[in-house]
Amino acid sequence: MTAAPAAGYTADEMMAITAARALRDGMTCFVGIGLPSEAANLARASHAPSLTLIYESGTIGAKPPALPLSIGDGVLAETADAVVSVPEIFNYWLQPGRIDVGFLGAAQIDRFANINTTVIGPDYAHPAVRLPGAGGAPEIAGSCREVIVVLRQNRRAFVDRVDFVTSVGFGDGPGSRQRLGLAGAGPQKVITDLGVLEPDPATCELRLTGTYPGTVVADIKAATGWDLQVAADLRELPPPTEAELAALRRLRAATLPPAANTAPTGQTDQGEQPNDH
């Protein structure tokens, strides 16, 4: 990112651009809808033209010219290298560990990066909020070589323990993934509108490793429902470049319906954010 930084941008734009930067050219990426899809398409439109986007609808190598609203928009099939059935995408493509990175959203995430997209509240039968559920996420989180999670950070979303483990991050901590037979490395980055969290290699607990220009560590800690540790090598991530911001805004303008242009993708009241569909 050598170009000049952009002047005015929002926290959501910083989040999307940081998430896009986490994808390297040539990777294969299993993409959830909403924030992950936006970031993945931004990466493909900017620094990673050879990124292979895989959607759970069975579209492999989709090259949508604009953001799809759903994982099954016609443009995904029409631009894909291959279109396969739903059993095939999960069994032949995801399950054996062929996919480099799974890109997920979440309604709740905890200190061990376990994800909840099922119910808010302690009683499954009588939830405070009924969320959409699992979709492809449990197996994406299990089988992709690594996982990146994108969601907005606040105390309702960042909790000490999730109410329901829809998708496993690091379970109860070190050794959990191995005991559970989960082949992939699990969540390696959680990218939010405030900064970037990564698992501590020793404890598997999410800790703050990156801030954005203008964000304050104390505010990020205050937006987290556990005692968030800060990495010794905490660094400030570079702001969006003019080119990145222009590419993101082009994508959004090309796609979002009028009502959503003022409210970025997936931004609804807590617990309503679509997960990976």
Binding site: S57, L69, S70, Q95, T166, V168, A259
Partner: protein, 276 residues
């Protein structure tokens, strides 16, 4: 051999109160016209099965057709929640809705087992999730060859599966292409089946990536042009993304939803078979 009948005849013949009904179509080719006909015929106490309940089941749940839902992702794609589904789960309106909840991989494999005539399927999945402890049709299983701990899911064998396809020929062979989802498995897993189609043609010309269900694997074929709306049929219609957005405020409110049903499903003008 598939019988070619009207949509209302197909539903009357194949979908009964208390049935387990799978209406599949993964974002693409969702059989909405058939869903509306089930609502019009006032079927009750159905166990509805679908990976993504989507707007089609939001409508059927809100209309009181369902007592149980077997699913893996219950949202309005790219928009937010399914509010009729949420109202049923959180407030038992218009009636209580029992849930059986899976992941997509689990549901897909359950259909594969059903289509294969096997009692269960095996996958690497669910491990460590709360779903595994919450859902009786998920169980650990040890590989007899390697000792690896895997997950078994029980076969899905619906009483009836309903799909929408691009076309059929006059013998009742059904052809669909584009995102083909899990419809082949869902039809082959079911005791009875209905395919609504955009059109019936003299000859099914080859299409890249198309699935053909031979006539003898399908129960009933009915024409329903535009019958996937607001979903779509690649090559015939496009996804009505505006409708999915518009559904959010309609479905948030019980009265608005009721008026929508009256105008777009129960009204005589709707019975012509065309979705709004």
């Amino acid at each position: 051999m598939a019988e070619i009948v009207s949509l209302s005849e197909a539903i009357a013949l194949a979908v009964h109160d208390g049935d387990t009904v799978a209406m599949e179509g993964f974002t693409h080719l969702i059989p909405h016209a058939a869903g509306h006909e089930v609502i019009r015929q006032r079927r009750r106490n159905l166990t509805l099965v679908r990976m993504t309940p989507d707007v089609i089941y939001d409508q059927m749940i809100g209309a009181g057709c369902a007592s149980k839902l077997i699913f893996s992702w219950g949202g309005n794609p790219g928009v937010g929640s399914l509010h009729r589904f949420r109202d049923a789960v959180q407030n038992s309106w218009p009636c209580p809705l029992e849930l059986e909840e899976h992941s997509h991989a689990g549901m897909a494999n359950r259909y594969v087992a059903g289509a294969s005539g096997l009692p269960f399927a095996v996958l690497r999945g669910y491990s460590g999730t709360s779903l595994a402890t919450r859902t009786p049709n998920i169980a650990p299983i040890t590989c007899p060859f390697t000792g690896e701990l895997l997950t078994a899911v029980a076969a899905l064998t619906p009483d009836v599966t309903v799909i929408h396809a691009q076309r059929a020929d006059r013998a009742g062979n059904v052809q669909f292409w584009g995102i083909t989802g899990v419809q082949k498995e869902a039809v082959l897993a079911a005791r009875r089946s209905i395919a609504t189609v955009e059109e019936i043609v003299d000859e099914l010309t080859p299409q890249p990536g198309a699935i053909v269900l031979p006539s003898w694997t399908v129960g009933y074929v009915a024409t329903a042009p535009g019958g996937a709306h607001p979903s779509y049929a690649l090559g015939y219609t496009t996804r009505d993304n505006d409708f999915y957005q518009a559904w959010d405020p309609i479905s948030r409110d019980r009265e608005k939803f009721g008026r929508w049903l009256d105008e777009h499903v129960y009204a005589p003008s709707a019975v012509a078979g065309l979705a709004p």
